[in-house]
Amino acid sequence: MKNSILSILAIACAMLGSVQTVSAAGDVAKPKQMDWSFSGPFGTYDKAALQRGFLVFKSVCASCHSLDKIAFRNLEALGYEEAQIKTLAAEYTVTDGPNDEGEMFDRPARPSDYFPNPYPNKAAAKYANNGAYPPDLSLMTKARKDGANYVYSLLTGYKDAPEHVHLMNGQYYNPYMAGGVIAMPAPLSDGQVGYEDGTATTVDQYAKDVVHFLNWAAEPELEARKRMGVKVLIFLSIFALVMYGVKRKIWHDVH
C-alpha cells in the first residue's frame, strides 16, 4: 500500500517536474524500399549484378573498407571460373611467412587467401580517415535494420546539409545515417567504374549492384537456404495433412 502511494507520487512528480530531451537520433529517414531479386521466398542472386557489384566494391569501397569474411575462392559463387579467380587473386599482395629463414615475405594472393585489409590495423585506418573507422563490409547488410535498402539509400542519399546541421571538417550530411552526420564522403559518382556489359554507369546503378554484392557477402547461403526452405515447407505441409487425417481417423469414434 505504501509502495503504491509512493509510486503514484513518483509518477506525478515525473509528470510535472522533468524536462526530458527527445533524442536527436530519432530523426532518421526511412530507407527507400527497393525491389531486390534476392528478397522473397524464391529470391535468387543475379550473377551479372553480383559481378558488377564486385567490380564497384573492388575499385571504390575496397580502398577504405575491408571484407574480412570473404576469400577469393568464394567468388566462384559470382560465376567466375577457377582460372579467373586465380588471376584476380594474383592482383593482390599478401604477407606470408615466416619462411625457412624466419623472414616474413610478400607474395601474390592465392584463391584460398582472404581479401586483404586496406590498412595494416584499426589505428592506421582511423588515422587515414579523420578519426573515423571504415567498418568491415562482410556483414553490413545484416548488421543494419533493413540492411540492403539501408545501404542503397545511404549510398544514393547524400545531400547538402540543412541549415540547423553544422558539419565539421571531414563530416558529410546523409539523412539515412543515424544522426544525419557521416564521415564517409559520397563515394560514388556517375561514370566512375566502367561496365563491360553495357549497363548504365550511374550512381543509382552502382549502388544497386554493390548492395547486391554486399548482400551476397553477408548471406552467401541465401539461395541454398531458400531453396531448401521451399522443399522443407512442402514436405511439412504434406506431413501435416497426413497427420491431420490420421488424427481424425483415430478420434472418429470418440467425438
Binding site: 509510486s7 509518477i11 526530458q20 556483414l139 531448401m228 526452405g229 470418440v254
Partner: protein, 468 residues
C-alpha cells in the same frame, strides 16, 4: 512395477530385456495406456512441443559447440565460420538461434494454458513450481547463449544484466566480480558463460524429468478443470494423444521452419552482427524479445523507495528494479497460494477470465515498452502561455548543451505520457493481478455451474454441435 504384475511381451528380445529391466513396461504404462482426459484442446500440445524444442536445442547446440570457440578474440569469427565454411553450419545455427525464440513461444503458451485452466492448483502445485524453475533456468540459459556470438548486443546485454547484481546490498560487487571472473565483461566471462550454457540445458532436462514425473503422479488437468472420475472420462495416451500431439507439433514446426529458412534474423537484433566493441555503446541496448516484459518491469522502477517526507532511502531505484523484475517471477512461483478459488478452469470463472486476459494484454504491452527507449513520449500537452510553451518546445528540439533557457516569468506545465509511465502502469497491474485480484477473487468470485464430469461436458458439447 516390482514383481508379479508385469505382463509378458510376445517378442522374445523385448521380453528378455523387460524381465531384467522393465523399461518397456514403464513406457507402456506411462505413454501407452496412460489414462488421459479425453477433452484436451490444442493448448495441451505445447508441453510436447516444448519437449521437442528442448531436444532440438540440445542436439543443434552440441553440434555448434563442436565448431565454436569461446575466446573473445575468436568467438565472433568462429560463428561466422560456422555460417560460411562448415557444411550446413548456417542451417544448424539458424535452427538453434530461432529455436530459442520458438522454445520460449511454446513455453509461454504452455504457461498461459496452465494459468487459464488452473493447472497450478492443488494437487499440482509442485508440478507448477517445477515448471517455473524450468522457465527460470531457460532464461539463464538463453541469456548466456545470446552472449556467445560476441556481437555488440551480446557484449552490452551481458554488461547491463550482470551489472544488475551490483544492486544487491553488501555482497553485490563481489557477485558481479564472480560472474565476470574479473573486473569487466571479458574473456573469462565469455568462457564461463559458454561452460554454463552447455551445462544448464542438462539441468533443465533433469527438472523436466521431475516435471513429467510429477505430472504422471497427479495426471493431467483438462479444459473443464474437473478431475476424471472413471474410464468414460479418459483415453489411453497412445494413439489418441501421440497422434494429436504429432499433428500439432508439425503445424508448429511449419511456422518455425518459415522463420529459419525465410527470415532467420527477424527475431534478432542487427547490432549482433557487429563484433563486440567495449568502446562503442549501441544507441539502445535491448534484450531478446522474450525478456522484454521483464526488462520493462526492471526499467519501470525509476525512483528510490524511502520513508515519505524524509531523505531516508530504503531501496534505491536500481535495486527496486531488480527486486520488481525477480519478484515478477516469484509471484508465478507462489501463484497456487495466491489463487485459492476452488474452481480451476477460467471457463467457469468469468472474472478470473477477464482479469487474466487483461494480464496477458498487459504483459504484451510491457514487452512493447521494453523494446522502446525509456524517454519515448506517446502523448504530451502544454499548459501555460503560448510563448512559454514554444520556448519549452524549442528547448527540447535544440537540446542545447548550456541547459540555460530564458523562460523567466512563468514556466509552463508540460503534461506527458512517456514509455516509462506506460511500463509503470502495467507493472502495477502485473503486481495487482497477483497480489490483489487473485486473493480477492478467491474469496468473492461466484463461479458458473461446473459440469459433473468430463464425460458430461463432452456430451453436452457434441449435442450442441448436432443441434446447430
Amino acid at each position: 512395477m516390482a514383481g508379479g504384475q508385469r505382463q509378458k511381451f510376445d517378442n522374445p528380445v523385448v521380453e528378455w530385456v523387460d524381465s531384467r529391466l522393465p523399461v518397456f513396461t514403464l513406457m507402456q504404462k506411462e505413454y501407452g495406456v496412460f489414462p488421459t482426459p479425453r477433452n484436451f484442446n490444442y493448448f495441451w500440445n505445447f508441453g510436447a512441443i516444448a519437449m521437442f524444442m528442448l531436444v532440438t536445442m540440445i542436439v543443434t547446440g552440441i553440434t555448434l559447440a563442436m565448431q565454436y570457440t569461446s575466446s573473445t578474440s575468436m568467438a565472433f569469427d568462429s560463428v561466422e565460420r560456422i555460417m560460411r565454411d562448415v557444411n550446413y553450419g548456417w542451417l544448424i545455427r539458424y535452427i538453434h538461434m530461432n529455436g530459442a525464440s520458438f522454445f520460449f513461444i511454446a513455453v509461454y503458451i504452455h504457461i498461459f494454458r496452465g494459468m487459464y485452466y488452473g493447472s497450478y492448483k492443488q494437487p499440482r502445485e509442485l508440478l507448477w513450481i517445477l515448471g517455473v524453475v524450468i522457465f527460470l533456468l531457460m532464461m539463464a540459459t538463453a541469456f548466456m547463449g545470446y552472449v556467445l556470438p560476441w556481437g555488440q548486443m551480446s557484449y552490452w546485454g551481458a554488461t547491463v544484466i550482470t551489472n544488475l547484481f551490483s544492486a544487491v546490498p553488501v555482497v553485490g560487487d563481489d557477485i558481479v566480480t564472480l560472474l565476470w571472473g574479473g573486473f569487466s565483461v571479458d574473456d573469462a566471462t565469455l568462457k564461463r558463460f559458454f561452460a554454463l550454457h552447455y551445462l544448464l540445458p542438462f539441468v533443465i532436462f533433469a527438472v523436466v524429468f521431475l516435471h513429467v514425473w510429477a505430472l504422471h503422479v497427479t495426471g493431467s488437468n483438462n479444459p473443464t478443470g474437473v478431475e476424471p472420475k472413471g474410464k468414460q472420462d479418459t483415453l489411453p495416451f497412445h494413439p489418441y494423444y501421440t497422434m494429436k500431439d504429432t499433428f500439432g507439433l508439425i503445424v508448429f514446426v511449419i511456422i518455425y521452419a518459415a522463420f529459419v529458412f525465410f527470415m532467420p534474423n527477424a527475431l534478432g537484433h542487427p547490432d549482433n552482427y557487429i563484433p563486440a566493441d567495449p568502446l562503442v555503446t549501441p544507441a539502445h541496448i535491448v534484450p531478446e524479445w522474450y525478456f522484454l516484459p521483464f526488462y520493462a518491469i526492471l526499467r519501470a522502477i525509476t525512483f528510490d523507495l524511502g520513508i515519505p517526507f524524509t531523505e531516508v532511502v530504503l531501496i534505491e531505484a536500481k535495486l527496486g528494479g531488480v527486486i520488481a523484475m525477480f519478484g515478477a517471477i516469484v509471484l508465478l512461483l507462489i501463484m497456487p497460494w495466491l489463487d485459492t478459488h476452488p474452481v480451476r478452469s477460467a471457463r467457469y470463472r468469468p472474472w478470473y477470465k477477464k482479469t487474466l486476459l487483461v494480464f496477458v494484454f498487459g504483459v504484451v504491452v510491457l514487452g512493447y515498452a521494453g523494446s522502446q527507449p525509456a524517454d519515448k513520449v506517446y502523448w504530451q500537452t502544454c499548459i501555460g502561455s503560448e510563448a512559454a510553451c514554444e520556448a519549452t518546445d524549442a528547448h527540447h528540439g535544440a537540446a542545447d548543451a548550456t541547459g540555460h533557457h530564458d523562460v523567466a516569468e512563468k514556466a509552463p506545465t508540460v503534461l506527458k505520457f512517456d514509455n516509462t509511465m506506460l511500463a509503470q502502469l502495467f507493472t502495477i497491474y502485473y503486481y495487482a493481478f497477483f497480489l490483489v485480484i487473485l486473493p480477492l477473487l478467491s474469496r468473492k468470485e461466484q463461479a458458473l455451474p461446473i459440469p459433473k464430469s468430463i464425460h458430461e461436458a463432452v456430451l453436452a458439447k457434441s449435442k450442441a454441435k448436432e443441434t446447430k
